[in-house]
């Protein structure tokens, strides 16, 4: 008996490995990733509050850690994560009202989230540098 295998080229249900990345799906997962980063980053805020409550020595230590170049890098990243998640959150709240769900509006809101968060983060740190005359 000859075995004849017919492979029929049926359309497959699309999945992540096949899709070309689109701005809306990237922003969807980045909202989740920044949510997790903010979750872990809450420890930074807690550490700072505890250091202040403990006294001048602990506060000086915290300042030294946050003031170290690596500390600053973490703070820049954390501030972007919080700002990005905040703008993404506004987008979600708009969608929750049933508005902005046409594909054009979806993409516009997603681009606003990423570009707006980058712009606001840069503006925040530049303003800080300007106010203190240095990083």
């Amino acid at each position: 008996m000859a075995e004849v295998r017919h492979t029929i080229e049926r359309p497959l249900s699309p999945h992540l490995g096949i899709y070309r990345p689109l701005i809306n799906m990237v922003m969807s997962i980045v909202h989740r990733i920044t949510g997790v980063a903010n979750y872990v980053g809450a420890l930074l805020i807690a550490a700072w509050l505890v250091a202040v409550a403990m006294g001048p020595d602990a506060y000086a230590t915290a300042n030294a850690v946050f003031g170290h170049p690596l500390g600053k890098l973490v703070l820049v990243g954390y501030s972007w994560s919080v700002i990005h998640h905040m703008l993404g959150g506004i987008r979600h709240l708009i969608w929750d009202t049933g508005r902005g769900l046409e594909i054009g509006a979806v993409n516009a809101l997603c681009w606003t989230t990423i570009l707006g968060s980058l712009a606001l983060t840069v503006a925040l740190w530049l303003a800080g540098i300007a106010a203190r005359g240095g990083l």
């Binding site: 989740r32 979750y39 809450a42 509050l49 505890v50 409550a53 506004i90």
Partner: protein
Amino acid sequence: MSMRTPLAKVRGLGSAKSGTEHFWLQRLTAVANLFLVSFLIWLLFTLAGADYDTVRRTLAKPYIAVLLVLLVLSAVTHMRLGMETIIEDYVHSEWLKVAALLLNTFFAILVGITCVFAVLKLSFGA
């Protein structure tokens, strides 16, 4: 024909065992966070690089302390709910999932109470 049992029907709940509370509280705390996190960014911006006494006296001001406590409660509730969704999405083994949900709740409460204690100590304590 419905596949649901009469008991499931009267309870009106699916496999999640709860209704819209999770969704609603996530949104409520999201709106609160919008204001309270903006406040935190402003506070940290003005206090960055300040000397110890300035920071301590600022955090001890009643309206700052109250806003900080509100922020901590809202953020910790929000992040716990958010992480709960993530765990339910990705952790499929029942035991691991229960353990992760447990740790998530412990973490949120620990962070929350620690922050609130620190703020109140600055307001009421030495």
